[in-house]
């Protein structure tokens, strides 16, 4: 009888534990795959693994780490910097592995929060945004050179253009930092690191958090907020050239704007795709094209139009004439960006259709990469 009581107590406590941990989604994926393309290789991070995939046939080149570590979940897109692939993870660690074979070269563990946004690089310096409110500048050996503090978490990818680094932060601000600063502008911190204190060229308040990666084209920086507002900023002065919110009906924008010669494609979490005149921000289509599900990842420009994916798992193409076609439908939600490879598009279905798959513009699968357990 006493044994039964003990078992009952343990069962009750275990059920409670299960209930509470279930409520927190502990162990469940809290993001989506991130990937980038460099030449004929695609680099995709999802969960505890990063894979290098041969884009010509979908075969595995290497995976990192050799032994999975569940605490090291990486979701941001790995980026190739010279001969390195740089991966940021949810265990606050930035890792660089050899681009050829995936052998680890160095780790940087100086950040205090997660890496959600991808790194950018220029002239041998890696700029790594972190949710702890810093952008870390490291050399190719992984040594911290300096850091820059924003007023909130950083989830988007920085953009480097010439001698300026542009950064759109969740603190509502877009920063332009002059990378040719004097060493006197660096302030020594207690831990021996150096922080760039004040040398930003400009900062502009967009009023809401920015998660979408900004894009710079012809001296104009395009950024969008979670409120559902798209801005064109003068990259020199930071002044707002135009903004667009469709009378408050534009949903939260998570993906980077897709920019053609004269047209900008914007997709939002209402599932709407808008076309705007690049110069003026004026809406081109009288009403948006509705894809029927949240659009989170960035789209990609192809020869036939722009390809986006939706939370409902729909991969579709829409052109400037608002002619749309569904390329494929997947079982799982798709939040990752769509990337181009030659005349085809890469997608991360995260289902039986594979972690990464290449589709042609008629919707036929060219290959699908399914990681082995």
């Amino acid at each position: 009888m006493q044994y039964k009581k003990k078992v009952l107590t343990i069962v009750i406590v275990s059920l409670l534990a299960l209930m509470i941990s279930g409520c927190t989604n502990a162990g469940a994926a809290s993001s989506w795959p991130g990937y980038s393309v460099q030449g004929d290789t695609g680099y995709v991070s999802y969960g505890a693994q990063t894979y290098a995939v041969n884009l010509t046939n979908g075969s595995l080149v290497w995976n990192y780490p050799a032994e999975q570590n569940r605490s090291r979940q990486a979701y941001s897109a790995p980026q190739v910097v010279d001969d390195l692939v740089v991966i940021g993870d949810y265990a606050n660690i930035l890792v660089a592995v050899n681009e050829e074979n995936g052998v680890e070269k160095w780790q940087f563990s100086g950040a205090e929060d997660r890496y959600v946004g991808s790194v950018a690089a220029s002239q041998g310096i890696i700029y790594a945004p972190n949710a702890d409110g810093y952008i870390y500048a490291l050399n190719s050996e992984g040594d911290l050179q300096w850091k820059f503090q924003t007023e909130g978490p950083n989830w988007s990818q920085p953009v480097v253009d010439g001698q300026q680094l542009y950064y759109a932060s969740m603190d509502h601000l877009v920063y332009a930092i002059d990378l040719a600063f004097e060493s006197a502008d660096l302030e020594l911190d207690k831990d021996g690191s150096r922080t760039l204190r004040s040398d930003f060229v400009w900062k502009t308040d967009l009023g809401m958090a920015i998660i979408a990666d900004p894009v710079i084209v012809d001296g104009v920086l395009f950024a969008a907020t979670i409120e559902g507002k798209v801005f064109a900023l003068d990259a020199v002065s930071g002044e707002i050239i135009w903004s667009f919110d469709n009378g408050g009906n534009l949903g939260a924008v998570w993906g980077a704007p897709v920019i053609d010669d004269t047209v900008i494609f914007i997709a939002d979490t209402n599932g709407d795709v808008y076309t705007l005149e690049k110069e003026t921000g004026k809406q081109i289509w009288p009403s948006p094209f509705n894809a029927g599900g949240k659009i989170v990842g960035s789209g990609v420009l192809t020869s036939e139009g722009v390809v986006f994916a939706t939370e409902e798992g729909k991969l579709f193409l829409v052109n400037e004439e608002k002619e749309a076609k569904t390329l494929s439908s997947f079982e799982n939600a798709i939040y990752s960006s769509v990337e181009a490879y030659e005349e085809n598009v890469l997608i991360a279905p995260t289902s039986e259709d594979g972690l990464l798959a290449l589709y042609d513009l008629e919707g036929f699968v060219v290959w699908s990469f399914v990681p082995t357990e």
Binding site: L8, W32, G207, K294, Y335
Partner: protein, 270 residues
Amino acid sequence: MWESLIIEPFINALLFIYDLIGENFGLAIILFTVIIKLITWPLMSKQIKSSKALQEMQSDPDWIAIQTKYKNDKDKLAQEQMKFYQENGISPFASCLPTLIQFPVIIGLYQSIIQTMGNAPLQMLNLIPKISPWLTNVFSFIPGLKEPLSLLPLNSQSLWMNIGQPERVFIPGISFGIPLLAIIVAATSFIQTKLIASPTGDAQANQMSGMMNIYMPLLMGWFAYSLASGLALYFLASNLFSIIQYAILGRVNIKNLLPGKKMEVTKKGE
């Protein structure tokens, strides 16, 4: 239904409090927990009183006599028990109803805190559509209120901890972080269970209660150790509030905390 009736109003109320108190999410969690507990106070009081009545009934000589007399006749026992309930004005389910009503509120409170933290992309993506300016509009006469969406991302730094991360205190000379909040949560859980424990004459029930008194604080401590510190703050505020509530209702037994003391059995009329 669950989202629109419980989670979304809770998330917006939590954000409203966060805005009101100067964007301190830790304090907002504590305050929101206290407010929800105050709202559910009448239900909780009723539950405590009803369970007290049921416990007292267990040691009533007439009740014990019925149990003994009809222990081999289940139908008759049920009849006599019902009769006893009616004669003494006891409703055996009176303590269940308040619990049933409170349960979704407490679960909703817990879920809304997790969701409002929004410290991962998928959480943030799900959080944004749930935010509405209705509370800000209702209280628009309060100066300085912000558009709720503009409060995102929440300031995760509160007191000495990052609300979105498990809490650790680093002391110079010690190479590892001390989970201070987890220790406090486990301690307050232990104190709470000991203080409010009211054993009956049933030895088996007392034994089970004794085991829960050990397992529950350990479990709560483990959650506080491994989950985001915002949740640990919720556990702590909830524990402290329960202790105060039980104390106000006269259901706290300080002697249960004394080492070597066996828990006192609550008897009728105490």
